[in-house]
Amino acid sequence: MSLLELKGVTLSFAGSKVLDGVDFSVPAGHIVSLIGPNGAGKTSLFNCITGFYKPQQGSIQLAGTEMLKLKPHQVTQLGIARTFQNVRLFREMTVLENVMSGQHSRTRAGVIDAILRLPSQRREEAEIRQVAEECLSFVGIIEGWEREATTLPYGWQRRVEIARALATKPRLLLLDEPAAGLTSGEKEELIDLIRRIRNERDVCILLIEHDTGLVMRLSERISVLDHGVMIAEGTPKEIQSNQRVIEAYLGVEEDALDL
């Protein structure tokens, strides 16, 4: 059974089609990668899934619930979390506060609770904190929680961002180029982390990545997007030998040479 199911998703900006009838699915319990040359529309697809872009046509369902009309925060409430291509942590806020943001949609306390410090509010605060701490520990950040998040080394920031996404208690986690800018040692840790997220927390993973080695080792299924069209789908082995995929990548390289 598929956790996420996209059918005929079409997105255009000012007349030009970025996504053209994309059919795509993420089977439950899998680690799936979305690859494709630059400008293929991978991040746009992420943005469609998470509600930031509104596709003109098609359907996007999470476990049978239609999400096409939902706003980003509603998508998150349904159980999809994401990271961003260029890390977007909240400036001027601590690591812990950053991760606490994930719990917002899972908690209730409002103005009056906060001003009166009702017992329920204090309990909830403790819970938010505890979840955040647990998520941070899970991604391997066990100290420096009071530091301003954007002052951390880059590799740490990536992990804080993943912890923040985990704090939303997702069913599906979208990672947008999680390995970009990481050292090879950090990449190994990342592979390990992603596997642990799936295995220990039962979260399905969909990632965009350019590092093909990492993708081949990690993914159980791979989908290939080129010029807004889904051109292949299969196991890493199948994709490696797929003629259209090779052409798509070679084609890009030729273009690159022309420059």
Partner: protein
């Protein structure tokens, strides 16, 4: 007067008023377009422009007379003077602030406007100053509609200035540089554009237009006052936003629309002069609710 006469009269009133608003709104919009700053001191530049025009005219009147020639020359000189004042204000008060939080620049702009306003209060002791122009009352009568030469010249000058600005921005090298800076400052810098010079020119032109409006208003209405910039600043800001802040044609359109709204609002039963500002502001809010970037504003960039 018949309904038709009232209509044409208010149309004319709206156009004259709208020309003022548009001229002042242009400065707002240009500065916003280039440095993304709401220059709250802009209305005060209009006021200072009026006083500068008055000062020049009182020197020139013995030679050129207090008629249109004298007024025209003093307007041009006032524009140059206030243009430089605008540049100085930018250099002294805004340039050091460009990396500061945006709200801080806003307060700086408010502080500049208070300095200009209260400086003029001190200089004039709060008195109204008669402008001293003698423009006559002649005009053309078309049925029940009377258009004075003053009004014609005023609208004409405003139109010429706006046209010149449009040509300046679309046809000249400086104009292109200005547009480049407004789109992306860093990219413009990489392309070899002297961004500081462009910002300076923008302030010069914007302030000069405000001064033109100020001295024309002084000549046309006959008196000056240190507080006169406040309301028009507010109105011009409104006009710029209705049209889409950052858009030059938008400012012109916004100015005209606001002028017409006020004129017809004054005449409308149930609105009247009592409620006309409420009427205009309500229209403004409605416009923004349905067209969040103003009438001619560029649609907001795709998020992410």
């Amino acid at each position: 007067m018949s309904i038709f006469d009232i209509f044409t009269n208010q149309l004319l009133n709206g156009i004259v008023l709208g020309s003022f608003y548009a001229l002042v709104a242009l400065g707002y919009t240009m500065v916003f377009g280039v440095v993304k700053l709401l220059n709250f001191a802009h209305g005060e530049l209009y006021m200072v422009g009026g006083f500068a025009g008055f000062l020049v005219l009182s020197f020139l009147a013995p030679y050129l007379g207090p008629g249109w020639l004298g007024v025209a020359v003093s307007m041009v000189l006032a524009m140059i003077a206030v243009g430089f004042l605008g540049v100085v204000i930018e250099r002294v008060a805004y340039a050091p602030m460009l990396s500061a939080p945006r709200l801080s620049i806003l307060i700086t702009a408010l502080a500049v406007s208070l300095v200009l306003q209260n400086g003029m209060l001190t200089l004039t002791k709060g008195q109204y100053v008669p402008f001293g122009a003698a423009l006559g009352f002649g005009g053309i009568k078309l049925g029940n509609l009377f258009i004075s030469y003053n009004q014609m010249i005023l609208v004409g000058v405003a139109a010429v200035l706006m046209l010149a600005l449009e040509l300046f921005v679309s046809r000249t090298q400086y104009g292109r540089a200005m547009r480049a800076v407004s789109v992306d400052k860093d990219m413009a810098r990489l392309m070899g554009i002297n961004v500081n010079a462009v910002i300076g020119i923008t302030f010069f032109v914007g302030s000069a237009l405000a001064a033109a409006a100020g001295s024309m208003a002084g000549a046309y209405y006959g008196s000056l006052w240190y507080f006169m910039g406040f309301l028009i600043g507010l109105k011009a800001f409104t006009a710029a936003v209705i049209g889409g802040i950052g858009s030059i044609p938008g400012a012109m359109l916004g100015g005209l629309i606001l002028g017409l709204l006020e004129s017809f609002g004054t005449q409308l039963p149930g609105v009247g002069s009592e409620w006309k500002d409420v009427f205009s502001f309500s229209v403004l809010i409605l416009v923004l609710v349905f067209k969040p970037t103003g009438l001619l504003g560029k649609p907001e960039q795709e998020r992410m």
